[in-house]
Amino acid sequence: MDTFQETVFKLKRYWAERGAIIQEPYDVEVGAGTMCPETFLRVLGPKPYRVAYVQPSRRPADGRYGENPNRLYKHQQLQVILKPTPDDVIEQYLGSLEAIGIDLAKHDLKLEEDNWEAPTLGAWGVGWQVMLDGLEITQFTYFQQCGGIDLELVPAEITYGLERLSAFLQGVESVYDIVWAPGFKYSDVRFNDELQFSVYNFEMATVDRLWRLLAEYEAECQELLAKFPKYPEKHRFPVLAAYEQVLKCSHLFNLLDARGAISVTERVGVIKRVRDLAVGTAKLWAEQQEAAA
């Protein structure tokens, strides 16, 4: 039986052998691997790209103080982007399951329609949730639009839920019982994280300050976006830094939401604020790439 980390190694190796760059996690809080620039920005434009990386993904509202066996404030996704999509992408994906020790001839695999949409990113795609013996182990999406921009080369995004997959492989009921490394369980590595951030997110995060921070990051991003048109040497322009402000805003929005600080009426407005930044940044990135081409 493979440990959690061994499964991760195998998946990374598998995709590395198929031409993917193995990236490290992005070091700003994100709600999903999709939000990392390695996905959000790289899928734009005409350049082929293949990348795989583990991304710890934070969803403050899903925190359960480490008490729920299946719900986590922060879970680990293995994100794979194949741009353009190879014709045998599903066969390749199934191969990755075999590579981590799942004998598909002995299991029940179904691809069930599940389309994906991220309003804060101006992004959507069509695809499936991959069901293995009734368990959703992967989200598979053909991106169609990102940052409000129609994609030229349609990428396939494969997102493995690593905790679920490992719990399945190891036959444990709770993610906290997953063996992460020999002698160490998931709970040894991550329990404090779950407990303390649940306390912070739900009970102690200072609402006024979070709102102010959101406004500050938003202003920083807006100022950057406004400077781009007159900036002489486009390739030097820090679009990537602007995008980081977007991620900060998105995370603050999630925090405020978990804190119960966003009323329903405000909600739509805040989502729009974040989307405007995301769409604006994506547009600059595309322009910058074009200018460089």
């Binding site: 029940d108 695999l109 329609e113 499936w128 349609v154 009426t265």
Partner: protein, 650 residues
Amino acid sequence: MSLEFLLEIGTEEIPHWMIPGALAQLQKLALFGGDISVDATPRRLVVRASGIPERTPDREQVIKGPPLASGEKAAEGFAKKQGADASALRQAGNYYELVKRIPGRAVRDMLAESLPGAVLGLQWPKTMYWTGGKNGPRFTRPIRWIVALLADEVIPFEIAGVKSGNVTRGHRKLGSSAIPVTIASYESELRKNHVILAAHERRHKIETEAAKLGAKIDRDLLETLTFITEYPAAIRGDFDPAYLELPAEVLTTVMRHHQKYFSVEASPAEAGATSLAPHFVAVMNTAGDPDGLVKKGNERVLRARFNDARFFWDVDQQKKLIDRGDNLANVTFQAKLGSYKAKTDRVVALVGELGGNTHAQRAALLAKCDLTTEMVKEFTDLQGIVGGLYAKFQGEPEPVWRAIYEHYKPLSMEDSIPETAEGQIVALADKLDTLRGCFEVGLAPTGSKDPFALRRAAQGVVKILVEAKLDFLLDHLATGELRAFLEERVQHYFREVQGFKYDEVNAVLAPGISELWDVEARLTALAAIRPTEDFEALAAACKRIRNILKQANFEGGGAIDEALLEAGPERELADRLAEFVMANETDYSNRLMAISGFRPAVDKFFDKILVNAPDARVRTNRLTLLHKLYTEFSTIADFSEIVTAGEQKS
């Protein structure tokens, strides 16, 4: 020679609910008169046909040339231009003409040209592109292979970079990924490779196997499973009977909606508080589960789901429904219409106006409180049901919790209305409030757009009014645009749900809409008498009367002057009418029978009596008679709206 044809569009997994619609379109594929049959699995759309000609027949085309008068030179010029010899021309009237022979074409070539467009022309509820950018081909999911054969020869073409051939693919794991086929071997090769092509066969296999394992067969789920599997097989799994403490509605929703399992009902002997047995039936897309891994996996997933449900139940009980009312202020009903708290206040008031008792008003007060519960946030389909169950658990009286439980009903045209009087009133008020509110702020549905499901709400209002026999007039419930919208739904309901003919519905509604249960009674009586001999003739006569009155611009009002009646048919008709009025029959069937009995008298009247009499007083008197007759006849239905057999022919 007549040929056989096979087209298989190999795709990645198509959403199950889109497949029947695609097959209906493929059934109409233009195949030169061939006899078409279609079938599909999630990974292939298949068209087979027989009786296709090898070539289209040669045909002749007549091309008109110059007038004879323009001379032979002109004729030669014309022939040359058409690529023919002048000797081939013939004379027709004053002109030359050329009979040109257009040779037929090989059907294979024509299909090679037409099929790509036909395939990509299929209409889908949602499409994607996957190659060639956003101007590239669009389909529901990527096309990965194509088999296209006419008499076992490949029809060559290309769609989205995929070339047609004679090689299919089997089941993703149990079959080969490259199987050469002929038309004759196609289906059996697929079977060998663990693909059951025929949907009816997969459906039957699932149904038989699942039933054998004790499953309660749910037709919608059966359809779904038929189209998400290529080789279905059912297995039974178990769960801890301790979960049976949770309401059966919750367990079933988890099994059916979230896991696509059939539930298993307890046999009457074991049935205790619940009707469920601690088992489920899952349908795999594979041949078997020899090591029990699939069973174990599914059981594990279900356990986690049930644990979640139990957790939600426990958490939700920490705050009673009645204490959640204020939280509804934070749940938006609709941006322009405010929160669910505001909606609740309106509905409570409306229930009162509609005469709802204190139980109904209490139910209206609590009806939306479950929207703030964890259970409903997770299992949105259970809104209302969860509220009802919680209310019961929290000691609300039965009429209250039942009304909450069923106040979203009817969910569709097929769904039943709430059973209790309280449930009916709350359901009616809830839907009516949604309709009134949305119409007031300009959110009436337009065309196919109906984001707030107002048609369904209106349909629910109509269904409840009819089937619960509620004494409300449409005019009292709605005005203006909404009133018209509801009337349209009334027509729809009686035509589509109850199956009355459109002219019958028009006839009954023409005198004005009464209580809807009364409309139903009239329609039933009308439809029953319609096939009788005298009825249609009488309807035709009514139409004649209406036209006469209209032409004369006669509005009625006066009394019949007995002295002016002519002996014979006119007096007989007047006497008969007087008798009829006197009898004042109120039973619709009897009354219609009596009206129908007027036929000979009416016929005789028109036969012998000139309405348009020279004496103006006599004329007015006759119009008055006809007007009274028409008015008396029209109390149940306006027969002039009935489309008679004679009219249908013309």
